[in-house]
Amino acid sequence: MFGLAVRSLRHRTGGFVASFLSMFLGATVVMAFAALLDTAGGSGVDDVSEETLTTMALVVGGWGLVIVLFAVISTMTLSVRQRAGEMALLKSIGATPFQVGRMIVGEAAAVAVVAAALAILPAMGAGRLLLELLQNTDQVAEGISYGFGTAALSIGLGVTFLAAVSGAIVTARRATKQRAKEAMTAVTVEQARMSRKRVIAAIAFLAIGLNCAILTVALFDDKGIDAMQTAGQASIWFSIGLALFAPVLVRAVTAVLAGPLRLLGGISGYLAVENVRRRTQHMAGALMPIILFTGIATGTLYMQSIENAAPPAAGSSIPADEAQAIETLNFVVVGMLSVFAAILVINTLVAATTYRRREFGQQRLAGSTPPQVLSMVGMEGVVLAAAGVLFGSIGSIVTVFPYSLARTGELLPDTTIGIYVGIVSTAAVLTLASCLGAARKAIRVPAVQAVAV
């Protein structure tokens, strides 16, 4: 089966690009930060520098693991779902679920090894830049020399491999649970019910996020930057909770937008509404990264922006130099998250849209002009972007409002709206550009050929 996995990889490189990219970037980031541990372990490192280096490495490494895990599950699920027919075929010729699962995990493991190996060189460079940045901003002593060794390699490779394999196991379990017949029809007839486990997890994440928000106000009022300990996490957990509810949210937003879309969008609006309704699961997959990106980026960046504008607080236990390290961390986490979210949004939408080539062909044969197809896809994108931005914004509130309250006594932050506009436009442009770009490409094939697959 491992042989089959490698052969299967070679023949469908396209499907693995996104998985590879997230593993590669994840490995690079994690390894670069893990190199700070090697650096901290070097000779002649003072205590303050050592603590800064270690905290950075652990915080970013931890979030890196979560993000890469999420990215791998998401990209692998997609590539497996698109091969539902192939999986069904394998099963029908006698492959056991275990064998199919082993193939999926084998593929992920193979991609992870290559991705992590290729990440070593860029990670060495990135780690060095990171140290220089910390030294230039006086967060780490000048004399410390760069180290890249066992910690970087073992943590970098370990985290990537672990994330890839556990992501693949989750994917494989889902894929093999489907019966052969279901696998064939799952593509067209989707049921949009959420599993109990998922509902419970979603509620738990929302509760944790809310709890962090309450703690921020209750415990850290007037304690300055200390409040970031809970405020920063609040939007992350809350956004994850909302993202897990994506199928429900898609339906809710569709219900609200259905009327206007039909009225203003004509036949394309009508088709867009039907498609979104019948493909809740696909849409939810694309909605999740948009919510996470909007929620966490808005939350974190506004938290930092409020902090930068606020007067120093008497009750803070954190010295100024450490505050700067926290700022760097915030930007790194948001930067990392944005890149991953962008990969996921693009990958999910491009894959899902390209996969509809046949359906677009059928629609064209039924009398759709290319502009009608594109405007339908565009309106589906509008539903997605609207839902993602709306719920992402809600996710960010649990960070922004409590932090502002704790830090300035005002619920609404007195900072620029520019950051928000920037984040929202990025989310909207990413969504629409991915959908429309892929659809344009998909309808370049003559309709008769597009349906002949």
């Binding site: 007839v189 498609n275 064209r364 039924a366 002009t369 003559p446 008769v448 349906v451």
Partner: protein, 259 residues
């Protein structure tokens, strides 16, 4: 049969010296070679020929799904001119209905929504009553709320027939409409097509390689190597099968004569 009806006002389809060549490189394939014919409105014509003889190419060129390399195509007196896909689509959805081997219904729409789709796409009112009446006609009056995946192949093909009929097109083109069906469903589908011609005066052009399917038509036109190789009126399965065997001989002889 070909070319004796050109002046008739009730002419549904006319091809004038249509050729189609695939590929431009070293070995271009001449899939259609100087084909001319005229079909009267209200007729049921089968196009037959061995695999690779150009049947699908003929259908695509005649129906405006593909552009011929040379020659002219008229549907209901209007010439199919080269243009953007949008222009061609608008031409097609006014005048042409399609039925494909693989049904090609939209998976996310219900049976009724699939049938009214061509009307909606053309910006017309979706005439539910008419659509339901046609669905009842094809025996699916009780399935209008189902999705294609919930129907058998034969039922899906009947939805496709209803969809083709709903716009009241000048011509319906069917490419191997029974190719994916069991013989029972195939008979139902063929009878429905024949009925559309007899009772509603529809014009149907059907590509097939099955002599039994062809026997439902009023006449058969044979294609070999991209050329018209004869025709047959009031066909029966036996006479068609007979002609097909001879066509096989003709095809094996052709390369010696070739271009």
């Amino acid at each position: 049969m070909p070319e004796h009806d050109i002046t008739s006002a009730a002419e549904a389809l006319r091809l004038v010296q249509v050729s189609k060549t695939y590929g431009t490189g070293d070995n271009p394939v001449r899939a259609l070679d100087d084909v001319s014919l005229s079909l009267a409105a209200g007729t049921f014509t089968a196009i037959m020929g061995p695999s690779g003889s150009g049947k699908s190419t003929f259908l695509q060129c005649a129906a405006g799904l593909d552009q011929p390399t040379a020659g002219r195509v008229f549907i209901d007196g209007a010439e199919l001119t080269g243009g953007s896909e949008t222009a061609l689509t608008k031409f097609r959805r006014q005048r042409i209905g399609f039925i494909f081997q693989q049904f090609n219904l939209l998976p996310t729409l219900t049976v009724l929504q699939n049938v009214t789709l061509p009307l909606r796409l053309a910006g017309k009112r979706a005439d539910r009553k008419r659509a339901i009446a046609i669905l009842e006609r094809v025996g699916l009056g009780d399935r209008i709320g189902h999705r294609p995946a919930e129907l058998s192949g034969g039922q899906q093909q009947r939805v496709a027939i209803a969809r083709a009929l709903v716009t009241n097109p000048s011509a319906i083109f069917a490419d191997e409409p029974t190719g994916a069906l069991d013989s029972r469903s195939a008979r139902t589908v063929l009878s429905l097509l024949a009925e559309a011609v007899r009772e509603f005066g529809q014009t149907v052009v059907m590509v097939t390689h099955d002599p039994v399917a062809a026997s439902y038509a009023d006449s058969v036109i044979f294609l070999a190597d991209g050329r018209i190789a004869g025709s047959l009126d009031r066909p029966t399965a036996e006479t068609v099968a007979e002609r097909m065997t001879h066509l096989g001989d003709a095809v094996t002889l052709r390369p010696a004569v070739g271009e």
